[in-house]
C-alpha cells in the first residue's frame, strides 16, 4: 500500500501512531513491510490457505462474534441436501461438468429453494452456472449478489449439520497452521501472532480491516481470495462497522468509476446486468433474471427503466419496452483476452484502445501484438505515443523477424488525448467517493478530452446515417449537451446531471428511492442518483475535514446517497444500539423513531429494528429491521454463497495454473473452473517443471505507473527507477550466478526478457514441503518505446493468459519462470532460446 497508494497510506501511519498493529503479508519485503509492525512473507498464490486457517482458528476456538453472526450473516441457514463439498469430492464442489469445466450451482442453493427453481422465480438457479460462467454472470449481481430465498430454513442453534456454520467448520477444518507452513511457507510462529492479533482486534470494542489490491485479485482464484476474507470479516463482526471492512485499493484514479459506469462488457451502469442475446429477449424476461426481487435490487425495474429513459428519452415508452430492444446483447465471453484471441482468429476487425497500453500492460504481450497486427483498423487515444500504437514498427516481433511492418495491414489511428488536468470531470476513488476536478490548463494542440471525442464522434455518425431502421437506436439517442470553447467541449457537468437523473418536473433527483418504474424518471446510473441533488454538483464539495465530523460527509459525494460505510446498520446490534461506545457509528433513535449517527444510515431511515416483513413483501419491504445487508435478497452477509460464483460457494485452495508445487490440500491442482486458452501463441509452462523452478511475481513501483506511458516519459519519475530490473534473494543469486547490478535473463514458455539484477535480502527464500522455493520479483512498467526517456523489456511478455472464471482477471501474480545470468540473445537467437525451453 505504501508503494502504490502512498497518499492513502498516511492514514495507516496515523492509525499506527494511535496504536493499531499493522501486518504486511506479501511475497516481497516492500516499502509497506518496512513500515509494518510485522512482515509475513508468503508464497504468491497461496493466501486462501492462510485466510482459511484464520477462519478455522476463529471457528475452532469459537472466537466468532456470535451475536453479530446470528443476526447479520447466513450462518444459520440450511443448505440443500444435494450440496457436496470439496471434502466429499476431493477438491470439487457438486455440480461440476468436466466437459465444459463449469459448475451448475443448483445444488449449492439453500434448502427449500430447489423446489421453486421449477417455477423459475429467479433466472440464476434455472440457468445454472454453465452460462453464468460463460458470460461472467457473477459480475452481474454487482452489489446485489444473486437471488436467494428471502426467508430460508434456519437453525439458530447453529448445530444442524447442514447449516452454513457447520458446513464452514467442516470445510475449513483442514486449513491448519501446518498447512499454512507447508503451502504458504509461513512459520507457525508468524501465523499464531497474526491469528491472535486478528482475534484480539475484533469484537464489540475493536475492529480489524483487511486491505488488498491486485496482489489478491490477479489469480485464477482471485475472487475466492476476497470471498475468504469476507467470510473471516463476517465471522469476526468486522463488516459495516467503523475501522472494519475489506478495503479494495483500486487502481487508476477512476477505476472505481469505470466499474460503476462500466467499461466492462457484461454490466450496465449501476451493476445492472448486460442483457443476454438468448435469455433476455424482453424487458420482463430480463428483469426476472436480473437479480432477486427482495432487498433493494427488488426495485431493479425502476433502475433499468430510468436508465433506458435517460438514454432514449421520449422515444422510450411503455409500449416499446422503453427501447430495451435497442440494447446490445451478450452472446458469451467478450472479455479483453477473448477479444484479442478473436483478433488473431480474424473475428475481431476493429479495436478502440482508449487510455490503455495492452501491448505492454496486458498478459501475454506477444499475443496482444499478434492480435493488433491482424486488425483492419486500430484507434489509440493516448497522451503519449504508447507501444500499442507503434508495435508495428518497433515491437519485439519486428526485432526477432517474426513480423515485418510491410506485412502488417492494420491501419493505426493515433488520436492525442487530453490528460486529467486538461479537462473537468469526476474521479470516483476507491471509497466510492466522487470528487470533481476543475480543468487546470487547456489541452495542447489537437489533444481532446475523451468526452469530446465520443460526443463528437457520435454527432458525426448521426449526421452520416440515413433513416435506415437499423440505425434508429442511434437516431433516438439523447445526444445533446451544451458545448463551450472553440473546440466545442461538451459540458461534463451536464453529463453528471444526466447521470444523476431528473424527475417528471425535469429537476434533478436527490435519491434513487425516487426512481419510478413507469418511465416518469430518468437516471443514467441509479447508484449515482443524488450526486446532483438540489441542482448542486455535490461531488465538487471541498469542506476541509477539520471543519466537520470525522466522517467528513461534505467532502465530495459517495455513492450510494453519500454513505461512507456500506451496510452500516451492522454497526449497531439487532436492537439498534451501538455494539460499544468506542465503535458507535449508526444507531436507532427510539424517540425520533429513526436511524441516526455519524454517517448516512444504510437502511430505511424509519424502519424500526423490530420490523418483520409481511408475507409476500418485495424489495426493501421484504427485509426485516435486522437485515443489515440491504442489497442482498435475504439481507444477510453471505458466509456461504448459494449462487453468484462460477467456481464454488466457498473458497478452496488451488495452486496457480503455473506452480512449481503440487496441491497438497486436494486432489485437484488448479481451480477446476479457471479459464485456460490452449493456444500456440502463448503456451503454458508445464506444472512442477524443473525447467521453470521459480515463482514469478509481477508488481508495481512507487516511481512508475502501470505500463509506463505516464512515467517512463517523465524525466523526474524515470530517473528514480531508470531501468527494468528484477529482485532476487542472495541465495538465488548464488544459485544462478547473478550479480547485483549485473544482467539477468528471465525465461518462460512465452518469452525471454532481460533485466538488471537487484540482489536483496528483502527477497526471502521460502522453506516448504521439504524444499527451498525462490521467488523472482519483476516490476512491469517498462516497454521498448512509448516515447519513454527510459525503456526496457516488458514483463508481460512473460506472463500466461489464464483467467479467474468469475471476472476474467489474468493470473499475473503467480506463475513460473527460469532465471539465468547475462543479457538475452537478440533476433533469431532469442526465438531459439525460447524454443529450447519449450522443447523440454
Amino acid at each position: 500500500m505504501a508503494e502504490c497508494h502512498p497518499v492513502g497510506f498516511q492514514w495507516v501511519m496515523e492509525a499506527k501512531a494511535r496504536g493499531a498493529k499493522v501486518f504486511h503479508i506479501d511475497p516481497r519485503f516492500t516499502r509497506t513491510s518496512a513500515m509494518a509492525d510485522h512482515y509475513v512473507p508468503i508464497r504468491a498464490g497461496s493466501d486462501i490457505v492462510l485466510l482459511g486457517a484464520l477462519i478455522n482458528h476463529v471457528l475452532a476456538g469459537e472466537h466468532d462474534f456470535r451475536e453479530y453472526v446470528l443476526a447479520y450473516t447466513n450462518a444459520s441457514v440450511l443448505v440443500s441436501e444435494d450440496f457436496r463439498d470439496t471434502e466429499d469430492l476431493d477438491g470439487l464442489f457438486s455440480g461440476f461438468d468436466p466437459e465444459t469445466r463449469t459448475y451448475d450451482p443448483a445444488s449449492w442453493a439453500y434448502q427449500g429453494v430447489e423446489e421453486e427453481a421449477a417455477s423459475g422465480q429467479s433466472g440464476e438457479r434455472v440457468e445454472g452456472g454453465r452460462h453464468h460462467a460463460e458470460a461472467a454472470r457473477a459480475d452481474q449481481y454487482g452489489s446485489g449478489g444473486a437471488a436467494a430465498h428471502p426467508r430460508p430454513h434456519t437453525d439458530e442453534t447453529l448445530s444442524h449439520p447442514r447449516c452454513v456454520y457447520q458446513v464452514l467448520k467442516r470445510h475449513f477444518a483442514r486449513y491448519t497452521p501446518e498447512m499454512v507452513e507447508q503451502v504458504c511457507g509461513i512459520t507457525a510462529e508468524d501465523f499464531n501472532r497474526l491469528a491472535e492479533a486478528v482475534v484480539a482486534g475484533s469484537g464489540r470494542e475493536r475492529t480489524t480491516a483487511w486491505v488488498y489490491s491486485v496482489g489478491w485479485t490477479q489469480h485464477t482464484v482471485g475472487v475466492q481470495y476476497i470471498r475468504a476474507a469476507s467470510i473471516l470479516q463476517l465471522l469476526l463482526g468486522n463488516m459495516g462497522r467503523p475501522g472494519g471492512g475489506i478495503l479494495a485499493l483500486r487502481g487508476h484514479a477512476c477505476i472505481q468509476g469505470s466499474t460503476d459506469i462500466p467499461t466492462l462488457f457484461n454490466i450496465l451502469p449501476g451493476y445492472l446486468p448486460m442483457p443476454h442475446a438468448h435469455q433476455n429477449r424482453t424487458l420482463d424476461q430480463y428483469l426476472e433474471r436480473a437479480a432477486g426481487d427482495t432487498g433493494f435490487w427488488g426495485n431493479k425495474r425502476s433502475y433499468m427503466v430510468s436508465l433506458l429513459k435517460s438514454w432514449w428519452g421520449d422515444a422510450a415508452t411503455e409500449d416499446n419496452d422503453f427501447c430495451y430492444g435497442y440494447l446490445p446483447r451478450l452472446t458469451g465471453d467478450h472479455g479483453t483476452y477473448a477479444t484479442v484471441l478473436g483478433q488473431i482468429d480474424g473475428i475481431v476487425k476493429g479495436y478502440f484502445v482508449v487510455g490503455e497500453n495492452p501491448a505492454v500492460g496486458s498478459s501475454g504481450g506477444r499475443t496482444q501484438r499478434l492480435g493488433l497486427a491482424n486488425l483492419d483498423w486500430l484507434v489509440v487515444r493516448d497522451m503519449t505515443l504508447v507501444e500499442t500504437a507503434t508495435f508495428w514498427k518497433d515491437g519485439p516481433e519486428i526485432e526477432t523477424g517474426e513480423m515485418r511492418p510491410e506485412d502488417i495491414a492494420t491501419e493505426v489511428f493515433f488520436l492525442p488525448a487530453a490528460g486529467h488536468v486538461e479537462k473537468e470531470g469526476t474521479f470516483t476513488q476507491t471509497q466510492r467517493l466522487l470528487q470533481w476536478r476543475e480543468k487546470a490548463v487547456e489541452p495542447p494542440g489537437d489533444c481532446r478530452s475523451d468526452l469530446w471525442f465520443y460526443y463528437h464522434l457520435g454527432k458525426r455518425i448521426r449526421q452520416r446515417i440515413g433513416d435506415d431502421e437499423i440505425d434508429r437506436p442511434l437516431r433516438d439517442l439523447t445526444w445533446d449537451y451544451p458545448e463551450h470553447g472553440e473546440s466545442g467541449e461538451p459540458s461534463a457537468e451536464a453529463v453528471l446531471r444526466e447521470i444523476n437523473g431528473t424527475g417528471p418536473d425535469g429537476r434533478a433527483l436527490s435519491s434513487y428511492l425516487e426512481l419510478k418504474p413507469d418511465g416518469s424518471t430518468r437516471c443514467g446510473c441509479w447508484i449515482y442518483c443524488g450526486v446532483y441533488a438540489d441542482e448542486v454538483n455535490q461531488a465538487a464539495r471541498r469542506k476541509p475535514g477539520r471543519e466537520q465530523s470525522l466522517v467528513a460527509p461534505e467532502w465530495g459525494w459517495a455513492w450510494p446517497l453519500n454513505r461512507r460505510i456500506l451496510y452500516n446498520r451492522a454497526s449497531a446490534d439487532p436492537e439498534g444500539r451501538p455494539w460499544s461506545e468506542r465503535k458507535a457509528y449508526i444507531w436507532w433513535d427510539a424517540e425520533k423513531g429513526e436511524w441516526t449517527g455519524l454517517d448516512v444510515p444504510d437502511f430505511e431511515r424509519d424502519k424500526p429494528p423490530g420490523y418483520r416483513p409481511p408475507p409476500g413483501a418485495t424489495a426493501q419491504a421484504a427485509l426485516s429491521g435486522t437485515d443489515a445487508f440491504v442489497m442482498q435478497a435475504d439481507g444477510k452477509g453471505w458466509l456461504f454463497a448459494p449462487a453468484g460464483l462460477a467456481d464454488g460457494p466457498l473458497p478452496a485452495h488451488y495452486e496457480p495454473h503455473e506452480s512449481p508445487l503440487p496441491n497438497i490440500m486436494y486432489g485437484r491442482r488448479g481451480n477446476p473452473a479457471r479459464k485456460v486458452y490452449n493456444r500456440s501463441e502463448s503456451p503454458y509452462n508445464p506444472p512442477a517443471s524443473p525447467r521453470f523452478p521459480y515463482v514469478l511475481t509481477t508488481y508495481r513501483l512507487t516511481e512508475h505507473h502501470t505500463a509506463g506511458g505516464m512515467s517512463r516519459t517523465l524525466p523526474y519519475l524515470a530517473e528514480l527507477q531508470p531501468e527494468m530490473f528484477c529482485e532476487v534473494s542472495p541465495e538465488l543469486a548464488r544459485e544462478r550466478g547473478l550479480v547485483n547490478g549485473g544482467w539477468a535473463t528471465i525465461v518462460t514458455s512465452r518469452a525471454a526478457i532481460e533485466a538488471r539484477v537487484l540482489v536483496s535480502e528483502r527477497m526471502r527464500p521460502l522453506r516448504l514441503q521439504g524444499r527451498t522455493l525462490h521467488q523472482v520479483g519483476v516490476p512491469y512498467h517498462w516497454g521498448w518505446a512509448g516515447g519513454g526517456v527510459v525503456t526496457g523489456d516488458a514483463a508481460n511478455d512473460l506472463t500466461p493468459i489464464v483467467l479467474d472464471p468469475n471476472v476474467y482477471i489474468q493470473e499475473s501474480k503467480a506463475s513460473t519462470c527460469d532465471i539465468r545470468a547475462g543479457r538475452r540473445p537478440t533476433g533469431r537467437a532469442l526465438l531459439d532460446l525460447i524454443e529450447e525451453y519449450r522443447r523440454e
Partner: protein, 248 residues
C-alpha cells in the same frame, strides 16, 4: 529578521515514496540528474547535488529497510556561506542559506567547504545550486514543496524551536516503545556547525545514511589558519632577507 524556520525530517515514518524529490524538482525547475541504475537498493539518485536537492536514501539491513530524505542542513554556521567570495550565498530573513544564481560566479569554493557534501556546481551552467528551503514559497507564506508533498509528514516544516520540541517528544515515544536506536541528528546547537536548521531523527548512525558523524564548519579555525600563514610568510621574509644580506 522573522523567527528561524526549519525542517524536522523524521525518518522513522519515511515510506521512501520520493514525492519530496519530485515535488522539489517540479517547483524549482531543477533538471533531471541522469538515468543511472545504481543497484543500491531503490536509490538511483545517489546523493544530494546541484540537480538533486532532496535525496531519499535506502538502507537495507537484515531486518529493516531504512529510508531517509536528506536535504541541505541550513547550518547555523554555514561553511558554504562563510567562504563564498561573491556574496552569492546569503542568509535570509528566515535564517536559511540561499544561493543567488545571478551573483554566483562558479568559483566552486562552497562545494568542498560544505561539511555535508550538499552544494555542488552544475558543469553546464557553471553555477552552484542547492536547496533554498523554498525561499520563494516562504515569502509567499507557503510551506516548502517537499514538505507539502510528503504524505506521512516525515518532512515537517515550521519554526525551528517548535520543531525541536516535537522532535524531543517523538524521540521519547520511540524510546518508550523500545526503539532505542532512534536518535536526533543536527539538533544540537553545540555541534561543529552550531546546529542545523534542517535536523533529523535517524534510526541508525549518521554515517549509515551518508551523513558525517561529527561535522565542523572549518571557518571556525580561520584565525589560527591565518596565524600559521602569517608565520610562514614571516619565515619567508626572514629567509629571503638572509639570502640577501646574510652570508656576506
Amino acid at each position: 529578521m522573522s523567527e528561524r524556520m526549519g525542517f524536522f525530517t523524521d525518518t522513522s515514518v519515511c515510506i521512501g515514496c520520493k514525492a519530496c524529490e519530485v515535488a522539489c524538482k517540479e517547483w524549482n525547475g531543477v533538471p533531471d540528474d541522469g538515468f543511472v541504475f545504481r543497484a543500491t537498493s531503490y536509490d538511483n539518485t545517489g546523493s544530494l547535488g546541484a540537480s538533486t536537492w532532496r535525496h531519499v536514501a535506502f538502507i537495507e539491513t537484515p531486518d529493516s529497510w531504512l529510508m531517509a530524505s536528506d536535504v541541505c542542513k541550513h547550518c547555523t554556521h554555514a561553511a558554504c556561506l562563510d567562504v563564498c567570495p561573491t556574496g552569492a550565498l546569503f542568509r535570509t530573513e528566515f535564517d536559511t542559506v540561499v544561493v543567488q544564481a545571478d551573483v554566483c560566479n562558479g568559483c566552486g569554493y562552497c562545494v568542498p567547504a560544505c561539511p555535508y557534501g550538499v552544494i555542488d556546481r552544475r558543469e553546464d551552467d557553471g553555477r552552484a545550486w542547492k536547496c533554498t528551503m523554498c525561499y520563494d514559497r516562504q515569502l509567499g507564506g507557503l510551506e516548502p514543496a517537499c514538505a507539502k508533498a510528503c504524505p506521512t509528514d516525515s518532512i515537517q516544516f515550521g519554526p525551528l524551536d517548535e520543531l525541536l520540541e516535537r522532535a524531543d517528544a517523538r524521540l521519547a515515544d520511540l524510546h518508550a516503545n523500545g526503539r532505542t536506536e532512534a536518535r536526533l541528528y543536527g539538533e544540537d546547537p553545540g555541534d561543529g556547525v552550531g546546529g542545523d536548521g534542517a535536523f533529523f531523527l535517524l534510526m541508525a548512525e549518521p554515517e549509515v545514511y551518508g551523513l558525517p558523524p561529527d561535522p565542523v564548519v572549518t571557518t571556525r579555525d580561520l584565525p589560527s589558519m591565518w596565524g600559521w600563514a602569517a608565520v610562514a610568510a614571516l619565515t619567508m621574509a626572514g629567509a629571503t632577507a638572509w639570502t640577501r644580506f646574510g652570508g656576506r
